[in-house]
Symmetry: C2
Subunit: 420 residues, 2 copies
């Protein structure tokens, strides 16, 4: 154990929210309060954006009830951002804010872009001789961070998606007079982990259960094969349920449906509409009724149908981040490690931030069946443990009683910062 570092800690959230990213913050707060070397527990509003603006809140002042409720509240209670630090003077500003508030521990919950930011802040602090411990907390429904077995947020989106698919399939089955193709468009920009997870909606003893066809961005999409695939399902089944990841690519690597041309601050294309596109392909080529649905933002916020395993691991990752920092680690991200053996056991470890930043974990080739539209037993063995257990959210007046932080602001001591 290294020398004790006494000072304040700051936790912030970045990127798209999940059903469990607040559970990670709850884990950070719970563990920070256990460590006397951490004096104040601050939250940053809207990720690095709020840090640039010196918008910090006092998390230790939140009530016990609110911190408990936080664990079962979707979205990012501190606010989040997709802002990318580009200029040296922005990085310098972050450090000024840290110095001004004696921040010595920085916990950043986010995906690969966010861990990249955390890595750069950490390295800048080192180069300037400012003692700072930076630990990333993994977060992404996309499950595409490298080095970690899986990401907090993924199990919950899969659980909700499988629930909706199983329910929708029963409805289609009941209607089942005509050839119906039902397409569910799900999130997943670069990797098909979410779409792949939909396979868990199938019953163990019912190979003909929905979803019948899964299309992943990992495999180049062919219209002709798609039409053939659907026809083959409709020969056996009255309806066909298709799950498609939003980032589906053609053989040249272009997005199949490019309905929007806008890009986010990281230069990622904003997607949507591949479900409608596939429905159109079918209606042009087959005498079927094709419907598409798009769960939208709701799918990553569905705490009401989230995985207790995922929630527990998100909380555990938050606590592990604090413990690692207090023990002297820095410039690392907490990773989830699956213990050897038949039974699923998940532990935490650490990996260098630089390894995570901007890497993308793809689905192993042998986890996808040869038909290209279903998953192998290896994938199922990997994914099934992640969706186990049902989070019980509190309800009030018939709707989930989620909490909002009271957000008492820390007084600003610096001049304001000009940024783009």
């Amino acid at each position: 154990m290294s020398e004790e570092l006494v000072g304040n800690c700051l936790v912030a959230q970045s990127g798209g929210p999940t059903a469990v990213i607040n559970a990670s913050v709850a884990g950070v707060v719970a563990e920070a309060l256990n460590n006397p070397c951490i004096e104040e527990v601050y939250g940053g509003i809207n990720g690095v954006l709020g840090i640039l603006k010196e918008e910090l809140i006092d998390l230790a002042e939140e009530s016990q009830q609110i911190i408990r409720g936080l664990r079962y509240t979707p979205a990012s209670a501190l606010g989040t951002c997709r802002f990318k630090l580009k200029r040296d003077l922005d990085y310098d500003r972050v450090l000024q804010v840290f110095e001004a508030h004696n921040i010595r521990y920085f916990f950043y919950c986010g995906g690969n872009d966010s861990q990249d930011t955390a890595d750069k802040i950490s390295k800048l602090a080192q180069s300037k001789g400012y003692e700072l411990r930076v630990i990333g907390v993994p977060k992404t429904i996309d499950n595409d961070l490298v080095t970690t077995d899986h990401c907090p947020g993924y199990g919950s989106v899969v659980k909700y998606l499988c629930t909706v698919i199983r329910e929708t399939a029963l409805d289609h089955e009941a209607m089942g007079q005509h050839d119906l193709v039902s397409i569910v468009e799900v999130m997943g920009r670069n990797a098909g982990w979410i779409a792949a997870g939909a396979t868990l909606a199938k019953g163990k003893d019912n190979p003909d259960d929905a979803p019948h066809l899964i299309y992943l961005p990992e495999l180049p999409f062919s219209k002709e094969k798609f039409v053939d695939d659907v026809q083959a399902v409709l020969k056996k089944n009255k309806y066909c349920m298709v799950v498609v990841g939003e980032g589906l690519l053609d053989k040249d690597g272009n997005y199949v449906a490019n309905s929007a041309t806008s890009k986010d601050a990281f230069g990622h294309q904003q997607l949507g509409g591949v479900g409608d596109f596939l429905a159109g392909v079918l209606e042009q080529n087959l005498a079927v009724k094709a419907r598409s649905s798009k769960l939208g933002t709701g799918q990553r916020a569905a705490t009401h149908c989230s995985s207790q395993t995922d929630n527990d691991e998100a909380f555990m990752a938050g606590k592990a981040a604090v413990r690692a920092a207090v023990e002297g680690e820095t410039d690392k991200m907490v990773i989830l490690v699956r213990a050897e053996g038949e039974n699923y056991v998940c532990e935490t470890s650490l990996a260098p931030l630089s390894e995570i930043a901007n890497g993308v974990k793809e689905i192993p080739e042998d986890w996808i069946s040869e038909d290209g539209t279903s998953m192998t037993a290896k994938f199922i063995k990997y994914c099934q443990p992640l969706i186990q257990g049902e989070v019980q959210v509190p309800y009030e007046n018939g709707v989930p009683a989620y909490v909002r932080l009271s957000k008492r602001r820390i007084r600003k001591v610096l001049d304001s910062h000009e940024f783009e």
Copy 2:
């Protein structure tokens, strides 16, 4: 009490499924087994379509577990149809099937078209001197049946919708750097009851909570007013959440978004796409990012997030139908009656089928605010009790463990019937 009528009963389901229509069938089965005058308890496969085909199953042979599971299984376990009986010989055929299997009690779970069918079957039996007791069981997420205070199925779709809206709103709130308009398209062909119910997603003390704007088919839609409404919300709020019923009409009574021209068997236009249409209007007229989501079929099948009150009432309606028939009633539908007084108490009564058939209950004018985009306290008082209580569905391996009937067929005794 009239003379005892001894014979078999038949229950069938018709129209779009709901999260609780199987609870009504469970109620029919539970009560039928209590009455010795009902000898066999049959189910009809796919509504009248299965009756025409003489496709009947033995519900008394299903296991206790399955009947219990039925109560918490979405969609129509017996199968459903949108088939409309048009020809006299089809009606005659229904009666032949009833005679052949000594069906003396017929319970039909469905909306107004289905109750119209039940009414015609009942009247034909009377005219032919075949003793038959016909009782309708109300079912529709649309909540548009007349004479009943509300319809089983409605409370559950509202509860799920409010949950998704509250979760999505927290996500938008967290992202909230830019002007974002999020449009949720919900079901509701002729009446805006479902869209209206979304108002319950608002917190009691947070008038600025989502949804900010609700558009109902009851009020003619104006693009100009819509753009102004959204602008006004975005002056106060970082984001604007809009809920829109699929059947939105313009001032001339035409569907605002008429993406599909297909009609169902009852001549109803198949709708979809009004959310995307509204997003397009905004992107053309305002510098905002507009996203739409369409929950699709899943919204009426979301038993995992359904109302216990709704489920209890659906079960109660099924039981009440059997009791009424055994007591000699016929040609009626079970209706739900709200008892006088401050506390919500729901009882059952009966109304003539002919009154329900093809009527549409609209939202009273003074339940819609003058702004045309929100609901008054009267609506909230009406709707809030219907979404109370959380159904706990059983889970297995991380996904809801819904049941399928084993469907042992009753041997056919008639020749097959030719139909369109």
